[in-house]
């Protein structure tokens, strides 16, 4: 996680602890819309059992750390995706699961399909596949947790920093 200088001095002793905690527990919001959502459900089932990694699915954005966009997003769904993302508390992460969420998948040429959710929300992990296997989703989640443990910034933070820098440059 990236914080400004003042806060850094305050929380420095805690930062390691926070990063460690974020590296060992990840509560994803179930944002399943289509076929990929079935594979997302599967990772919670007995064979794949994500509970053992500290990954528990939440139904409320208020309780979730990360949003798994599992499935196709179309123009009608796009504002709802944004709304739920905005309702999540920072720090928050997004996994674009499946080719649809990454880039529109098999429907990329269509008249109603969002070609990649990164147009709407900042994406931390791009997970391709149609649908990706459950093992792949577990890998994506673990990668995200490893990054957190190492204290790496999230896509949302990088995006915010980018916006700040652009604003600053504009004032120069």
């Amino acid at each position: 996680m990236v914080v400004d200088e003042e806060t850094r001095a305050l929380v420095a002793p805690l930062q390691k602890l926070l990063d460690w905690a974020r590296g060992h527990s990840m509560w994803p919001l179930t944002f399943g819309t289509a076929c990929c959502a079935i594979e997302m459900m599967t990772v919670g089932s007995a064979r794949y059992d994500t509970d053992r990694f500290g990954i528990f699915f939440r139904n409320s954005p208020r309780q979730a750390d990360c949003m798994i966009v599992a499935g196709t997003i179309n123009l009608k769904m796009a504002p709802r995706l944004k709304l739920l993302y905005d309702q999540m508390a920072a720090p928050k992460y997004v996994i674009a699961m499946g080719s649809c969420a990454v880039a529109g998948g098999p429907f990329a040429a269509g008249y109603n399909v969002v070609n990649g959710v990164d147009a709407i929300v900042p994406v931390d992990i791009y997970l391709t596949g149609c649908p990706p296997r459950p093992e792949a989703l577990i890998h994506a989640l673990l990668t995200l947790m490893e990054r957190n443990a190492a204290g790496e910034p999230s896509a949302a933070e990088l995006h915010a920093a980018e916006v700040r820098r652009a604003a600053q440059e504009a004032t120069w």
Partner: protein
């Protein structure tokens, strides 16, 4: 009331004897009788067919762009749209198709929602995608696309966005809800919600301090089984009215199919009903085979049955898991998904995919079973009943589950006919329909199909019927494996590029949700002119309105769960 229909009168004879039926013909290689009529005569004609001749089931309501170049089936040369109405007589399962040609500039036809209430959402879909106006429709607004969408995409003149929807359009779309039934602050504007009676809104008892409120349920809700959206009018805890809306997963499948070749369409259709991809594939492949006059091999027929039944089991697994979750039980999910994985392993071994198979091909199936697979499947299926016994031990006798489902949300036969409900939903109310037996396809005519039938029609009965279907499916799959004939898995001489002759075909299969059909129109080229999927779940979910009225809010989730929907197939 029982009416004796003259079922010995063939649909051809009926159409020939009707003055309003012009140009009687047959679509497909002579299978489905059809006729043309005018907008003015349509209502009377359909009413007569329904009431006097027993064509009570509205199987298909869609439209297609007129093929101006073609003249050989007498199709008008004027550019425009033609409406397609498919009606079925249950007694002998004969289907007929009525066409109404509408030239551009006069895209108007009377709404038939007074005959079948289930026609209303289907007409809204045609309005949305083709721009046809339905006079007398109770609430004609867009149903799948955003209200601020411009154009009617299934028209051939619609310009597809170059390279797909641009990021700017997406950002603009994400910034506004584009829903005419929401105010700018996101709250509902109840008076404008299609299908909701505004008269319901004021509380009937003056002086009593309650207020009726409108609640959105979905499209992102843990218990709506996908991106279904329900408008609920609540009086305290009681649901006064419920109105499903859809479109949150419209992925342009039918339009994209028009630029794919016939084989490539199966890949799109796998993603249509993604919980039981084999069924959508099969309906399409059967329609292609019919159009081209291709025969599949006996072995392929049996393999098609085998995989259709196995995927029905996995689909019911998903439903069973949800049935538990909806009533507060997590264990059924864990149990069902253990067995689901075991079957997915077979799919993966044979087709290479866990959910997206692309396995059925015109003329047969892609690959034969790998060595040893049949024996392992037989071994698994022999013990399958024990797994279902375990499921039943979890829920069937469970006090809480019974209390939540027994006597809740009765579905009667009138509503079933009115909303064109099919599948386990209808069978749980004692409507004895099952295409596997009534209109056998693949190898079902060579196998002992037993139909699981219920009577009561409540949520619990729908549960029991699906449980029984799982056992039956395992039995059928086993029978298909044991009777698997020798020989090739695909017939010779299927051309590399499939170019069916001009014409149309409609084939339906019994999917886990009901009668899933594919209506395919060929203009003689290598891509379909029109590919329409008849979605059973779409008809079924719109019966949720009458089903949910009067229930408690907490019962809505289990009841919607008992309809067993897949949004990919509803929205397409």
């Amino acid at each position: 009331m029982t009416v004796a229909y003259h079922t010995d009168v063939s649909p051809e004879a009926i159409l020939a004897g009707m003055p309003s039926a012009e140009r009687p013909c047959k679509i497909g290689p002579g299978r489905i009788p059809c006729a043309h009529t005018t907008p003015g005569e349509l209502l009377d004609m359909l009413r007569q067919l329904r009431d006097e001749h027993g064509f009570t089931h509205l199987e298909l309501l869609t439209a297609e762009e007129m093929q101006t170049a073609s003249d050989d089936d007498g199709v008008g040369a004027e550019p425009g749209v033609r409406m397609v109405y498919g009606l079925t007589r249950r007694s002998d399962r004969r289907t007929m198709v009525i066409y109404v040609a509408l030239p551009d500039g006069a895209l108007e036809v009377p709404s038939i929602s007074s005959l079948w209430r289930g026609a209303a959402p289907l007409e809204r879909e045609v309005f949305d995608l083709f721009g046809v106006h339905f006079n007398g429709h109770p609430a004609l607004t867009r149903i799948v696309l955003r209200d601020d969408f411009v154009g009617h995409p299934l028209r051939k003149s619609f310009e597809m966005p170059e390279g797909g929807v641009s990021a700017e359009t997406v950002r603009a779309a994400a910034a506004s809800h584009g829903d005419a039934h929401l105010r700018a602050d996101g709250t509902a504007d109840p008076a404008s919600i299609p299908g909701l009676d505004p008269a319901l809104l004021p509380c009937p008892e003056p002086g009593f301090e309650t207020e009726r409120i409108v609640v959105h349920m979905g499209p992102q809700h843990p218990s709506t089984h996908g991106v279904l959206h329900l408008w609920l009018v609540l009086d305290g805890e009681t649901v006064v009215a419920a109105q499903p809306t859809q479109g949150y997963l419209h992925r342009c499948i039918e339009k994209l199919a028009e630029s794919r070749d016939y084989r490539a369409c199966t890949a799109l259709l796998d993603r249509c009903d993604y919980v039981s991809g084999f069924h959508t594939e099969l309906a399409h492949v059967l329609a292609v085979e019919e159009l081209c006059g291709i025969e599949s091999t006996p072995k392929a027929d049996f393999l098609r049955v085998l995989f259709s039944e196995l995927v029905r089991i996995t689909s019911h697994h998903t439903w069973f898991a949800a049935a538990g979750l909806d009533t507060g039980a997590l264990t059924p999910f864990l149990y069902a998904f253990i067995d689901r994985e075991l079957i997915l392993d077979f799919f993966e071994e044979v087709t290479g995919g866990r959910m997206m198979f692309n396995y059925f091909r015109p003329g047969g199936v892609k690959d034969d079973l790998p060595p040893g697979a049949a024996a392992r499947m037989v071994e698994y299926l022999r013990t399958f009943d024990r797994a279902v016994d375990e499921y039943e031990a979890l829920l069937t006798g469970n006090e809480i589950f019974r209390a939540r489902t027994r006597g809740v949300a009765f579905l009667d036969r009138v509503t079933i006919a009115d909303y064109c409900v099919t599948g386990p939903m209808a069978r749980a109310s004692g409507v004895d329909i099952d295409l596997r037996r009534d209109q056998p396809y693949a190898a079902y005519d060579r196998l002992p199909v037993r139909v699981a039938l219920g009577e009561a029609g409540d949520t619990f009965e729908r549960y029991l019927v699906r449980i029984a279907e799982m056992r039956e499916s395992a039995r059928l799959a086993l029978a298909a494996l044991e009777g698997l004939p020798e020989g090739p898995h695909v017939s010779d001489g299927v051309p590399r590029t499939i170019k069916p002759p001009k014409g149309a075909a409609y084939r339906a299969v019994e999917s886990p949700r009901g009668e899933l059909g594919v209506y395919l129109v060929s203009d003689g080229s290598a891509q379909p002119w029109r590919l329409k999927v008849r979605s059973p779940a779409m008809s079924n979910i719109h019966a949720a309105g009458p089903l949910c009225a009067g229930l408690r809010l907490a019962d809505v989730a289990p009841v919607v769960g008992s309809i067993d929907i897949v949004m990919g197939e509803i929205d397409r």
